[in-house]
Symmetry: C2
Subunit: 404 residues, 2 copies
């Protein structure tokens, strides 16, 4: 079996952890598997390097920043190779140049294009554990690039896809994917498996275990992902093509607290006004999530929408500058909300799911401020202070603690 | 003018030093020069990385060690580029992959073969200061290699040769090449210039400012070197093709304390015995420097020779194991000696130089234990405790404190 295993920075933070991970890799080798390992930079290395850069340049160019921080992963992979060799295993480390990990041009947030597998396959054939730098690539100018958030996960999935690996294991600090965040909902249950689409909805809705880009890529190339912990021997969660037999009504609940609500009140019901508003935001790279339009008094309109809290200050500045052009009477801003979403492939054929969710929230005394739905997801905006209450209520209402 | 400037690890140890060096580079750019910069890893970075490797593997493979420590130079060059950009200069950092810095295969001690200048020239044409990782290369397997001791100097000279630079400036912690070590001889004088051959003899004889490999390469490609300090504005020393006009009788005195003497006493005067001895040492990679053979009592021979102190333990073990085969009565070992050498292109045509040196030492009461000469160099072995005394005496005898 060919296995790709990815470990994040905290899993390789110091010599002791590196040895521990080397032990996990060795177990797979002992079972006769070929193993490709993808690593992030050790612990806080990347942050430390960025701090060094900022000591010299308040606004460092992304090209040089990538040149600087890619050294972090290169150190990790060399150290892991040394740890495995000390244990008597054949191992070789490779960076983005050595495997021609080609990306788009953009520094700091590049996308993978293709990988030359010749060197990888040769090293595997020679009986080596191959340890590859995550998060980094090389663009057409032969410069280092980095892949942005969740980059090492993406590297692992891309390698698994290109090498037709049997499994891609993503090691994290949790034991798998849960029906809800176990720190909030005490009955939260670990899932044996989840479909790509459900995982994508959960990830978009705030579940932070896997990054969307890696799940999208896994879905496109049908790579079976396994999310598991590097600290326990517990079985993880498989992320794979949906298997009807196990289709759950609700797979999981996600919460996203990085939400702000903006309400543009009382602007003229003239065609094109709403377009102007959202065009303005889009041109300033501000993503709008849920939109609610309602008829106000005297034929005027109110429009409410949610954005990321990170964009709240920018949004406020832009809208205040353009208040007249928009013809709005008043604009209100709030960061006291959170979004709770339930996700499940089973809800396509179960029209009653939404009303059961709303009923659960009503019984718990939680007000719903906005609603948004897709085929396999229902999201509601509630007051942030009600998050735990709401999640417990929904988790109980759908009996999520027990297997179907 | 195209200038290559090389700075060692202590010159770029922290943000303050990096900014200082960026200032030196900027001065050259302001004068309208094109500048290529070669950097070592910051301060103790390389040692720290080796220590991290040894935490995981007592006997780390050189391939992985090179993969690990080459990150040090990559960090330096990125940080320098950021410092220059902050000052408003165009700069780009490049590593060994990006300029195809091809080397021989051997990890840890590779030799440069060739450099692809396409990228370098393009970046210079775009008006960039080009900052290149010293000490590192890429071998035919597309693996990182390092160049061993003095590696960054070699990188700088190779770049200067390949780009036909007008000058190659090697910044050090001293202001140039002196007639003798200024810490030992208080009248030591800084040289305006020195020939490649004289520099090579001085470097081999223990002067540590430049490494032999870089001087050899500079000589082969006729690269004008300048040795100067990054901390003062003082003019440095030029290392270049000999100019007859300024030929000095004695250019400098060097001392090498890393010397041990071995005396093999009373072995049979039979053909092939001496050969056996030196063959044995050579097969064990032990370099012999000065050899003295003398006739002992009853037709037997004594042979004394010097080696590096680092090799003393190995030599002792090897000779004791083979004492019978060599047919030696006794073998003595001592690490109480030092070698003092005088170097000067002028001594070729001045047969009296040796006797003046011996006279100076005799007058100072310093015993000479062994002698070795080349066309432009005379070395003597003396007791280590007499080093300062001997150097002062020679320096005075040849009036080295004054020009010519």
């Amino acid at each position: 079996m060919l296995i790709v295993k990815k470990f994040g920075g905290s899993s390789v933070a110091d010599a002791e952890r590196v040895r521990h991970v080397a032990g996990l890799i060795a177990e797979d080798v002992d079972k006769g598997n070929q193993v490709v390992v993808v690593l992030s930079a050790q612990g806080k290395t990347t942050d430390q390097l960025i701090a060094k850069a900022k000591e010299l340049n308040q606004n460092p160019s992304k090209r040089e920043l990538d040149m600087l921080i890619t050294t972090g992963e290169q150190q990790s992979v060399a150290l892991m190779a040394l740890a495995l060799q000390e244990m008597g295993y054949k191992a070789v480390s490779l960076n983005a140049f050595q495997i021609a990990m080609n990306t788009t041009r953009v520094y700091g947030n590049a996308r993978l294009k293709n990988i030359n597998t010749e060197r990888l396959k040769m090293e595997l054939e020679h009986g080596n554990v191959v340890i590859v730098t995550g998060f980094q690539g090389v663009n057409r100018y032969e410069d280092y690039t980095t892949l942005g958030r969740g980059g090492s996960d993406t590297t692992a999935v891309a390698l698994a896809a290109t090498l037709h690996a049997d499994r891609c294991q993503i090691y994290t600090d949790v034991e798998g994917i849960y029906t809800a965040d176990p720190r909030i909902v005490k009955n939260a249950r670990k899932l044996k498996e989840i479909s790509y689409d459900e995982m994508l909805e959960l990830a978009s809705m705030g579940a932070k275990v896997l990054h969307n880009r890696s799940v999208e890529m896994a879905k496109r190339y049908n790579v079976v992902l396994e999310v598991l912990s590097s600290m326990t021997k517990a079985e993880g969660t498989l992320v794979k093509e949906e298997t009807k037999v196990e289709r759950l009504l609700i797979t999981g609940i996600a919460v996203d607290k990085n939400i702000a609500r903006v309400s543009v009140i009382g602007f003229d019901d003239v065609p094109g006004k709403a377009f102007r508003l959202f065009d303005l935001l889009s041109r300033n790279n501000i993503n709008v999530d849920i939109i609610l339009q309602s008829i106000g008094r005297e034929g005027s309109k109110d429009i409410s929408f949610t954005i990321s809290r990170d964009d709240l200050e920018d949004t406020r500045r832009i809208l205040e500058e353009n208040k007249e052009m928009l013809g709005a009477k008043d604009i209100k801003y709030s960061d006291q909300f959170a979004k709770i979403s339930i996700v499940g492939a089973g809800m396509i054929s179960n029209p009653g799911v939404a009303s059961r969710m709303f009923e659960a929230l009503y019984n718990a005394g939680v007000n719903i401020h906005m609603i948004s739905t897709s085929e396999i997801k229902i999201s509601v905006l509630i007051a942030e202070r009600n998050v735990a209450l709401a999640m417990e209520a929904i988790h109980d209402r759908f009996n999520m603690a027990s297997h179907l």
